[in-house]
C-alpha cells in the first residue's frame, strides 16, 4: 500500500525538482557568474600585479598590494576617512528625514498620494542630472543655497562642493534629498503596525509619544534595521558624485574608496592593486554589516518573541 502511493509521489517530486531548477536557471547563472565567482576572483586578483593587457603579464606579488595600500598609498587612508564621514552624515540624515516624512504621511491628511509622489520624485531623476543640477544649486554666487543664505538670512556666502571642508556634508545632503525609497519602505512598515496595539494603548491612556515609542518603534524595528543596513551598504560604496561632479576634489576631500578603486583600475590600469582596494571596501562594509547584525538582537523587536 505504502509502496504504491510512494512511487507517483516520487515522480511528482522529481518533476517539481526539474521545474524548480528550470525556473531558477537564470538566477543560478547570475549568482555564480555575476556574484560569487567574481567575488572570489577579486580576492585572487588582489595578490597579483596586472596591467589589464590580455592574459599575460600576471605577476604574483603576494600581500604586497595590501602592504602598500596600508602604508605608503597617498589616497587610501584619507579615502576611508572621507567615506566614513560622508556615510555617517548621509545615513543619519536620510534615516531621520525619511522616518519623519513617513510618520507625517502616515497621518490622515488630504491628497496623501500626491505628497508621497513629491517626496519620491528626487529618487526617479537620473543621478548625473541630479549632481549637475545640485552643482549649480551650490554655486557660490548664483546658486539657490547661497541665495537663501545670503538674500534671505543675510549670512556670508559658502563654497559648498568647492570647499574641502564642506564637500562631504554637501554631497550627503543630496543623498538625503534622494532618500525617497526609504520613505516608501518606512511608510509600508508603518501601515503594517497592528492598529489593535495602538488602540489598546490609547484605551489604557498612553499619550501619542508613549504610543510612538513603545509600540510603533518596536514594531518598526525590523524595517529600521533593513533601511539602516541598506543605506549603509549603498553609501559606503558611493562613487557617482565623485564621478559626475567633484572628481574627488577639492584636494582629496571627496575621494571615496570606490573612486580610488576606479582611478587605480581604469585610469592607471593597475588592476591587481585596485582589486586590493575592492577587497578592503568589502571588508569595510562587512565590518559594518556584522556589527549591525550582532547588535540587532538587543534592539530589534521580533513579533511573537516577547509578547
Amino acid at each position: 500500500m505504502s509502496k504504491r502511493s510512494k512511487k507517483p509521489r516520487n515522480a511528482l517530486m522529481r518533476a517539481e525538482n526539474r521545474t524548480a531548477y528550470l525556473c531558477l536557471i537564470p538566477s543560478i547563472i547570475g549568482l555564480i557568474f555575476l556574484t560569487y565567482v567574481p567575488l572570489l576572483e577579486v580576492f585572487g586578483l588582489s595578490f597579483f600585479s596586472w596591467k589589464g593587457n590580455g592574459f599575460k603579464g600576471f605577476t604574483f606579488v603576494g600581500l604586497q598590494n595590501y602592504v602598500k595600500l596600508l602604508t605608503t598609498d597617498p589616497y587610501f587612508k584619507t579615502s576611508v576617512a572621507v567615506t566614513l564621514y560622508y556615510t555617517f552624515m548621509a545615513v543619519i540624515g536620510s534615516m531621520i528625514y525619511s522616518l519623519i516624512i513617513a510618520l507625517l504621511l502616515n497621518r490622515k491628511i488630504p491628497a496623501r498620494g500626491f505628497w508621497r509622489a513629491i517626496f519620491y520624485l528626487p529618487y526617479l531623476l537620473p543621478a548625473v542630472a541630479v549632481y549637475l543640477g545640485w552643482n549649480w544649486l551650490y554655486n557660490i554666487n548664483y546658486g539657490l543655497f547661497n541665495f537663501i543664505l545670503n538674500r534671505v538670512f543675510g549670512l556670508p556666502r559658502v563654497g559648498f562642493v568647492n570647499d574641502a571642508k564642506l564637500v562631504a556634508p554637501s554631497l550627503a545632503l543630496v543623498s538625503v534629498w534622494l532618500a525617497g525609497n526609504l520613505i516608501v519602505i518606512f511608510l509600508a512598515g508603518l501601515q503594517n503596525v497592528p492598529k489593535t496595539y495602538l488602540e489598546a494603548a490609547e484605551v489604557d491612556g498612553a499619550n501619542s509619544w508613549q504610543r510612538f515609542w513603545h509600540i510603533t518603534v518596536p514594531c518598526m524595528s525590523p524595517i529600521i534595521f533593513y533601511n539602516l543596513l541598506m543605506a549603509l551598504i549603498t553609501n559606503l560604496q558611493v562613487i557617482t558624485p565623485a564621478l559626475a561632479l567633484t572628481k574627488g576634489g577639492p584636494g582629496s576631500s571627496s575621494r571615496f574608496v570606490s573612486y580610488v578603486m576606479y582611478q587605480y583600475a581604469f585610469e592607471s590600469r593597475k588592476f591587481g592593486y585596485a582589486a586590493a582596494v575592492s577587497v578592503m571596501l568589502f571588508i569595510l562594509i562587512g565590518i559594518f554589516t556584522v556589527i549591525l547584525f550582532a547588535t540587532s538582537k538587543s534592539w530589534m523587536f521580533s513579533q511573537g518573541g516577547d509578547d
Binding site: L31, V128, G133, F282
Partner: protein, 287 residues
Amino acid sequence: MEKHASLANRKRRERVINSVCFLLVVFFSALCLLPIWWIFRSSVMSNNQLFANDVPFFPPDWLFSNYPRALQNFDFWTYLKNTMIIIVPSVIAGTVTAVLGGYAFARMRFKGKKFLFTLVIGSMFLPVMVTLIPLYIMWTNVFELNGTYWPLILPYFCGGGAFNIYLIRQFIMTIPRELDEAATIDGAGHFRILISIIMPAIKAAMIVVALLLFTQMWNDLIQQSLYIHDAKKYTIALGLSQFKGSLKQDYSAIMCATCMSFAPGIIFYLLGQKYFVEGIVLTGMKG
C-alpha cells in the same frame, strides 16, 4: 459624562495634530521641490540673467527657446533612444526572471532550496562595487563585448537581482495555496498556474520590480561609462556628463538638458504609481 468630554477632547486634539502634520508636509514638500524649481527656473533664463547680480527667484521672462537651442548640442532623443534600448529589454528580462525565481522559492520543493535561498539573500548584502573589476575583465577580456550594450543588458537576464526575487517570493507567499491546489486538481502544470493564477495576482509586485530595475539603470553612470565609448551610443547619463564638459559656462543650456532628462523617470512613475505603493505596502517587507 466625563468620558464623553475626554473623548471629544481627544478627537479635537487629534484634529489639531493632523492639521499641524499637514502643514509640515506642505512645508517639507516645498523644500523638496525647491531644488527642482531652481533648476527649471534656470533653464528658462538667459545666461546674462543667470549671472546677474540680483539673482532673481522667478525667471524675468520665460525663455522656452533655450530648449531648442540646447537640443542643437545635446542630442536628447538619440540618448533617450539608446537608454531605452538598454532599459526596455533589461526591465522585461529582469522582471520575468525574478518572477520565475520567486515562484520557485515560494511554491516548490526541491533539493538545495535552503542553500540556494541563502545564496540569494547573501548576495543582497554584497556591494556591487566589489565585483566591478572582475566583471569588467570578464566582459572586456573574456567575451570581448566592451563597446556594446551587452554588458549592461545581459546581467538582467540572470535573475533580476536578489532583492527582486525576494520581493516576488514574499508576495507569492501571501496568495492562498488553495488556489494553486484547485488548479492542480484541474490538471494545470506549474507554468499554467504561474501564468493564469500567480501572475495576475502579483501584478503590483511585478510593477514594483520593473520600477526598481528601471531606477537602478536610470541612475547608473559607472557601468555605462565603462562599457560605452562611442558618442553615437551614449545614454542620457553619458550624454549629460559629456555635455557638461563641452559647455563649461552655458548654464542655461546645461539646465535645459538636466530638465529634459528629468522627464522620462517622472512619466514612468506616474504611469505605475498606483501599483507601486500598493505593491510595496502589500509585500509587508517582513521576513
